[in-house]
């Protein structure tokens, strides 16, 4: 298994500002993912964080709004830029090993409130 930590666990931010969320895995993994879970809704994949190259974004999510970094196999960041109240959500990081991309380990999530 893999243990994933996220920082911060929660934050309250003003509109127009940016927040960077950190995700740390305790062992080397091949794949890392970022999800959004809006209130009362399911998980939606934002992007796949690729080591050493640009993240792969899903439809409806763009790099300017959600820049992602992955400098090594165990760490990734997601920035929520120029925030609006619609960005209030739980942001989840997950990781998976080579060959089992759908068997994902999830972080505890970051609860973001934008005022």
């Amino acid at each position: 298994s893999a243990v994933i930590s996220q920082k911060p666990s929660r934050d309250i931010c003003q509109r127009g500002t940016s927040l960077t969320i950190q995700c740390q895995v305790d062992s080397q993994v091949t794949m890392m993912f970022w999800y959004r879970q809006q209130p009362g809704q399911s998980l939606t994949l934002i992007a796949t964080a690729n080591q050493g190259s640009e993240a792969t974004y899903e439809s409806g999510f763009v790099i300017d709004k959600f820049p992602i970094s992955r400098p090594n196999l165990t760490f990734s960041t997601l920035t929520v830029s120029n925030m609006s109240p619609e960005d209030s959500s739980i942001y989840l990081c997950s990781a998976a090993r080579q060959g089992t991309p759908y068997e994902q380990y999830f972080g505890p999530g970051t609860r973001l409130t934008v005022t």
Binding site: S42, L43, Y102, E103
Partner: protein, 112 residues
């Protein structure tokens, strides 16, 4: 496009009663199906996967390709089964990459 449907937002049963959490999927290819669970104040975790045909915590799920379903079942519910359950689909296609598609989730409440 891939889609996962969990028709029940909330399922409430008594302890000892059978449980069936419904999941239907839409996908033209041959997917991998999973159940993930989130207990209160815990993180989301994998419960079981269809390819391993395993029973975890008394839960089983059978992939029915004819009905495009992957219902989660347990013969006798326990209070500690109370949680949010998500059905998820992994398309086995390079076209979709490694995108895991989640259903809306079903809250299972087991009453004593």
């Amino acid at each position: 496009a891939q889609r996962v449907t969990q028709p029940e937002k909330l399922l409430s049963v008594f302890k000892g009663a059978p449980v069936e959490l419904k999941c239907n999927y839409s996908y033209s290819g041959s997917p991998e199906l999973f159940w993930y669970v989130q207990y209160s104040r815990q993180r989301l975790q994998l419960l079981l996967r269809h390819i391993s045909r395993e029973s975890i915590k008394g839960f089983t799920a059978d992939l029915n390709k004819g009905e495009t379903s992957f219902h989660l079942k347990k013969p006798f519910a326990q209070e500690e089964d109370s949680a949010m359950y998500y059905c998820a689909l992994g398309p086995q296609s390079m076209e979709y990459g490694n995108k895991l598609v989640f259903g809306a989730g079903t809250i299972l409440r087991v009453k004593s």
